[in-house]
Amino acid sequence: MADDPISDLLMSVAREDRMAFRALYSQAGPKLMGVLIRILKDRSEAEDALQELFTRVWLKARAFDPARGSGLSWLIALARNLAIDRLRARQPLMDDDSALEVVPDAAPRAETRLVARGEARRIGECFDTLEPDRAQAVRGAYLDGLSYQDLADRFAVPLNTMRTWLRRSLLRLRECMET
């Protein structure tokens, strides 16, 4: 892929290239360490998570699809999911039964390919469609790995109120980005 060295390295790692794996570690490592420290807030836990992250990178590199996005974005998504799963494992479950309902899917509709074609509007341009504190909630959730409970506590509102706020914000962002 033109101009995405991390993507190229990931594809080599997918072919079990150990030198590429080492190069990927040094090139993407500092950013990934930054993600893990920001979310886990503890350097030693972040170092532990970094080891697990790169183990998963080696095992899952074949799942990386360069057509879907940059190599670094794929790695950051992997890092965030790992870090957030660790955070959530420490926390009690939300006292909210409706959150656990698996809503049956309606008849499947064709998925939008707008995002995959790179034609979606960028999220940065869409934050001003939200009120400032809602935009802050979305950004905080993403960058710091905050849970619904964390956000509810931070904004001093009930859990269900925060869920409604956030869902409406996500719908509004989607409308801005995908239409």
């Binding site: 930054g34 479950l93 509709r109 959730a141 960058l143 619904y148």
Partner: protein
């Protein structure tokens, strides 16, 4: 911006994809969405779309000093065979026999299983690996034996997984050192058994974190 064709996925599924990609759910919700995404490619695609949207914020993550953890990572992913075995393979210990006699036992070990097993599996070494196992299932019980190569080294364990069809591997536990029987509640012909190298105590993630050493399908005897 070209208009969106009227093919937006249902809001409930799309919001679950967005919430998952954002990370706000609790542990139970996240696991439920992950499991659903493994079965439902449309959900998996929407999660990927939302991750791509949110990636627009990645510029706000600062870099941090990178420790050199490559040696530990590589030791786990690419273990070197120890020069001398650190531990006798458990099947040798349980039969209390020397190497020469043990070789004969390998060929005929199934004869020592009291009943004819329902299903067996020969777990052949993966490229670059040197361990092989055989498994035999009788009713809901399975015995697994190391038939070549060495047992796990210091601080490591062998963990057994079963892979049914396209599903993610499910752990059957760390292989016991003394050849005890494991329970296998739903033995299915064709399901693949795999052994991975894990840290002592096994994987903490619910999925293999170390290399797959050997694997093979369960077949009828």
């Amino acid at each position: 911006m070209t208009p969106l064709p009227s093919s937006v996925p249902p809001d409930d599924m799309d919001l679950r994809a967005a919430e998952y990609a954002l990370g706000v759910g609790d542990a139970a919700q996240r696991q439920a969405v992950e499991a659903e995404a493994r079965r439902n490619p449309a959900l998996a695609a929407r999660i990927a779309d939302w991750e791509a949207h949110f990636a627009g914020m990645n510029g706000d993550y600062a870099e941090a000093p990178l420790p050199d953890l490559l040696p530990q990572i590589e030791a786990r992913l690419f273990p070197k065979a120890p020069a001398a075995p650190r531990r006798e393979p458990f099947w040798r210990r349980s039969f209390g026999l020397g190497a020469g006699v043990a070789a004969i036992l390998v060929a005929g070990w199934l004869a020592f299983i009291p009943q004819k097993p329902d299903l067996v599996a020969a777990l052949a070494p993966q490229p670059g690996q040197a361990v092989a196992f055989r498994a035999a299932v009788t009713g809901g019980e399975m015995t697994v034996a190391l038939v070549s190569g060495d047992g796990p080294g210091e601080g490591q364990d062998f963990e057994l997984w079963i892979i049914r069809g396209d599903a993610a591997p499910v752990s059957l536990g760390v292989l016991p050192a003394d050849g005890e029987r494991l329970t296998l509640p739903d033995p299915t012909e064709g399901a693949v058994l795999a052994v991975s190298l894990e840290p002592k105590g096994g994987s903490t993630t619910g999925a293999p974190t170390g290399p797959i050493l050997a694997l093979g399908p369960l077949t009828r005897t």
